[in-house]
């Protein structure tokens, strides 16, 4: 995570771009294709604030935190529109 002001907001969860092997590892137990993931727009501010540049077809891992439920992981497929 860089020092983009976006990450200072506590309501913005941590986003991590996954590489192909990691995607494979995460999707295998779910028995789904990439296209069955929830989507995230390429123009999403969180993606723009990442260190690497995301491109359509990438998958981001989102580390959410909630007082009640604790930490949870979510995955989203980057799409153009």
């Amino acid at each position: 995570m860089n020092n983009n002001a976006l990450w200072l907001n506590k309501l913005v969860p941590k986003h991590v771009l996954l590489d192909d092997s990691e995607i494979e590892k995460r999707l295998k137990p779910l028995q789904i294709e990439k296209t069955q993931l929830p989507k995230i727009f390429l123009k999403d501010p969180a993606l723009k604030a990442l260190d690497q540049e995301a491109k359509p077809g990438d998958v981001v891992e989102i580390h959410r935190f909630d007082d009640h439920a604790g930490t949870s992981l979510a995955y989203r497929l980057v799409v153009e529109e």
Binding site: P29, L30, Q31, I32, T35, Q36, L37, P38, R64, D66, H68, A69, G70, S72, L73, A74, Y75
Partner: protein, 886 residues
């Protein structure tokens, strides 16, 4: 029916049908507006032509040769004398007319732009991911761009704007365009330009939006009915088609005879009207077509749309068999799992049972007992039908039962009447949550109503002022197992909404338990045995708490109640009667704290905070820690114990429960006078401009807030004064304090003072100019003039008070009326959005497309039903247990 599906459907294209397709589909051409001849026989080439299907038994369809009920019918067609616009596409047509140039027929974009859009669309079509919505977005952009250009890049001519007068009139600079002209313009558009206009020329072309041939639906879709008088009554669609045919005929005659242009145009427009209303009789901008009686005709769109339309009424929802509906009444001796079913209903509702060697004799006996009862008083389930292994149904009657009951053997299926212990689904509408439909065990009863335990009223939101409920008999073994395991009432004691009990003791049960257990209440041997007999207590009596009492040993109510508690229960909490404003010591002395040690109540009363839904601590513990069987047993027994206790002590309330001594009334009056004086003082200060505004408020707002505060306090105070004089010997107070029904506020409003009335959260300020009623001076801001009610309900209200009170009351009524309809629609949309979500076995939440919605259910995999008010773990309790229990 299999033979009716000769091919497997691989793909469906939704598109416009052109005249060629309509004629190809047609079984006959329709030319006469008449339906039947004098003998009641369908006229050939009339609207009821036998080629389009049959609706009378005995006749055969001339197209397929099938009889009524075997034949879904066939379409016919009407050749229109002049082309007519399909009103549903007028908007698309307007776009197309404006995006293309009439002389060249080309879309008004340069070839570059056309290619640009074509490439995008083609990519979407090829990619499989291309949805209609996405393609629609591109075509819309293309059209918008084309409409904007003033001159055609292909022929270089200027373009005149076409306007649309809804629903079907197109104008070009004020000149009306005839459907004929529009059609020829559409025909001119080359195939190559159609893709970016949103048409796939391989499937359809835009000129099909203008009708030259009208498809006539099959007769079985619009059957005529024969009234008792022998008169025939036609379907609304047939009526409309008759209109179309008639005008079509006149139009053709007039046109061919060379009638004046004006007459032809009028008829043409009339034909347009009839066809528009034939599709949609609620088209904006034209009058609705009506039946002779004045009733609006139900045409095609009306058949499909809305709550009573084909989709919501016949496809999403269907009528069911094996169901019953009647009034509900209470029965405290039923378990919460049970439902009392009247014999009359039970003899109509059946369960299919397959005969085997184990139940053969039993079933034979049922048949025998039913036709030749040994005890006519007793309900014995009977059998309506026998289904033989060759799936022939045999109805059992007085004549054939003896013969058939001998023939009964393994392999047969019998349809047995409902009997005790059968599992059924019970439902009350509106079905707002899953607890609105629960599984109950049947108890056959005399009478004509469904009977339920009172504790299941809250989840169904039922009462007994005439409510009716529905019952469904589950027909298969799997369904019965599912219903029993997942849907039984006891599995729904805890709600997934907030992780607490929704089913628990209510009203009389709480009063009864409080009376049984409060203070020093004790019972002699007779009473104790009588009360305990109601819960089928089979062990020895506990050691009496007061063995040496006068007149023999006595048992405390707490001892009797403790019989229901598990031995390992340890709890300490404040009772509902706890005085929040007094100290802990005082409350302890007054026996307002409940303590349970090793399943024995050692102090405190059992009231709302112990056994009621939502907040009952004992109920909460049992349902969460001991499981649903124990919780059901506890609730059932509390119900009976409470009834038993009430039988011993009695409980009544009346108008004298709101009696307070005279000096208390004086005190209340004095307090009110003081408060009103204080208000007057504030008002005076305000009028003189001396009132200091509070931070962030205007002077007016400050005055209102202060006055509301003062009047609120005096209402509380008069309630307090009344409360002092209403002690725990008063049943109304007992009910309010124990949490059974009503509140101390209700009581103080009856005995003391009703207090300030409000509309929209403010003191009443509407009415006449600068005053609420003509009884007051203009500009009067005092308490009485703005809706303060000094009187109590018992004393009665003055006319002005009564009026203010009605204003406040009306607001409440309007609010509830508005809220229910609005929240109902919101709920419908929410449910439609979420209905296909489900938690899969891997813990993810997915929809029917199998895409993941949540990677872990609720992000934490917690079943809220099993949580403690939303928390996965009851940490306080764990700590208590770790400290050694207490």
């Amino acid at each position: 029916m299999r033979e009716m599906i000769p091919k497997k459907i691989a793909k469906i294209d939704f598109a416009l049908m052109g005249p060629k397709e309509i004629r190809k589909l047609s079984a006959t051409k329709v030319i006469t507006a008449d339906t039947y001849d004098d003998d009641g026989f369908p006229i050939p080439m009339g609207l009821m032509d036998l080629h389009m299907g049959v609706i009378e038994p005995g006749l055969r369809c001339k197209t397929s040769g099938r009889k009524m009920d075997e034949d879904p019918g066939h379409f016919g067609h009407i050749d229109l004398a002049m082309p007519v616009i399909h009103a549903g596409y007028s908007k698309t047509m307007k776009d197309l007319l404006n995006a293309t140039h009439p002389s060249s027929g080309r879309i008004m974009l340069t070839q570059d732009r056309i290619d640009h859009y074509n490439v995008q669309i083609q990519m979407l079509i090829d990619s499989e991911a291309g949805t209609t919505v996405k393609i629609g977005g591109i075509t819309r952009r293309a059209i918008r761009e084309a409409v904007k250009s003033k001159t055609c890049p292909h022929c270089g001519e200027e373009k005149i704007k076409v306007t649309l007068d809804k629903p079907t009139t197109f104008r070009e600079e004020g000149r009306k365009l005839t459907p004929k002209e529009i059609r020829s313009r559409m025909e001119k558009i080359p195939d190559s330009d159609l893709l970016c206009l949103g048409f796939n020329p391989k499937i359809t072309r835009p000129e099909n939006m203008i009708l030259t041939v009208l498809s006539v639906p099959p007769v079985p879709m619009r059957p005529s009915i024969t009234l008792e008088s022998g008169e025939r009554s036609e379907d609304d669609l047939t009526h409309k088609l008759v209109d179309v045919l008639r005008i079509n005929q006149r139009l053709r005659e007039n046109r061919d005879a060379g009638a004046p242009q004006l007459i032809v145009e009028d008829l043409w427009e009339l034909l347009q009207y009839h066809i528009t209303t034939y599709f949609d009789n609620q088209t904006a901008g034209i009058p609705t077509a009506r039946h002779r009686s004045g009733r609006p005709l139900k045409t095609i769109v009306q058949r499909l749309k809305g709550k009573e339309g084909r989709f919501r009424s016949n496809l999403s929802g269907k009528r069911v068999n094996f169901s019953a509906r009647t009034v509900i009444t209470p029965d405290p001796y039923l378990s919460i799992n049970q439902v009392g079913v009247p014999e009359l209903a039970a003899r109509e509702l059946t369960v299919p049972v397959r005969i085997n060697i184990h139940n053969l004799a039993f079933m034979r006996n049922l048949i025998k007992e039913n036709f030749d009862p040994s005890d006519p008083e007793q309900y014995i389930p009977g059998i309506n039908y026998m289904i033989r292994p060759d799936s022939r149904r045999v109805k059992l009657t007085d004549e054939n039962w003896e013969f058939n009951h001998e023939r009964l053997e393994p392999g047969f299926i019998v349809e047995r009447h409902l009997m005790d212990g059968d599992i059924v689904l019970f439902n009350r509408q509106p079905s707002l949550h899953r607890m609105s439909m629960m599984a109950h065990e049947v108890r056959i009863m005399k009478g004509k109503t469904f009977r339920i335990n009172l504790c299941v009223c809250p989840p169904y939101n039922a009462d007994f002022d005439g409510d009716e409920m529905n019952l469904h008999v589950v027909q298969s073994e799997e369904a019965r197992a599912e219903a029993r395991i997942l849907m039984r009432v006891q599995e729904h004691i805890r709600s997934p909404r907030f992780g607490g009990a929704v089913i628990g003791a209510i009203h009389d049960h709480i009063t009864g338990m409080f009376l049984l257990t409060h203070g020093e209440a004790s019972y002699d041997r007779d009473q104790t045995v009588r009360i305990l007999s109601r819960v089928e207590y089979k062990k020895d009596l506990p050691k009496p708490e007061y063995p040496k009492a006068k007149g023999g040993p006595r048992w405390s109510g707490r001892q009797i109640f403790s019989v229901l508690l598990p031995d390992d229960m340890n709890l300490k909490y404040n009772a509902s009667v706890y005085f929040a404003e007094r100290t802990l010591e005082e409350n302890t002395k007054l026996d307002m704290i409940v303590e349970i040690v090793n399943g024995q109540m050692i102090r405190g009363p059992v009231d709302g905070n112990s056994i009621s839904a939502f907040k009952g601590r004992i109920l909460e513990d049992i349902s969460r820690l001991k499981g649903s069987d124990a919780a059901r047993d506890f609730i059932d027994k509390v119900t009976r114990l409470a009834v038993g206790a009430l039988m011993e002590t009695g409980c009544t309330t009346g108008i004298d429960d709101a009696d307070v001594p005279k000096d208390a009334l004086t005190q209340i009056t004095v307090a009110q006078i003081d408060a009103v004086k204080e208000v007057d003082k504030l008002v005076n200060a305000y009028n003189k401009g001396k009132l200091q505004p509070r931070p962030g408020r205007s002077v007016e707002e400050t005055l209102e807030v202060e006055v509301m505060g003062i009047l609120g306090r005096v209402r509380d105070k008069s309630g307090e004064i009344a409360g002092w004089h209403l002690g725990m010997d008063n049943f109304a107070v007992i009910m309010a304090r124990s949490g059974a029904r009503g509140s101390m506020l209700n009581l103080s409003q009856m005995a003391g003072s009703i207090g300030q009335q409000a509309v929209r959260g403010e003191r009443i300020s509407r009415g006449y100019e600068k005053r609420t009623l003509s009884h007051f001076n203009q500009g009067d801001l005092g308490a009485d003039a703005k809706g303060f009610v000094r009187s109590s309900y018992k004393k009665g209200l003055t006319p002005t008070e009564y009026f203010f009170h009605s204003m406040g009351g009306r607001e409440g009524l309007v609010d509830t009326a508005v809220r229910t309809s609005r929240s109902g629609y919101m709920q419908r949309r929410l449910i439609n959005a979420l209905e296909d979500l489900r938690v899969k076995y891997d813990g993810t939440v997915r929809n029917t497309a199998n895409t993941v919605v949540q990677f872990t259910y609720g992000e934490d995999s917690i079943d809220p039903t099993k949580s403690k008010f939303g928390n996965a773990i009851d940490i306080d309790r764990l700590i208590e247990d770790a400290k050694g229990g207490k």
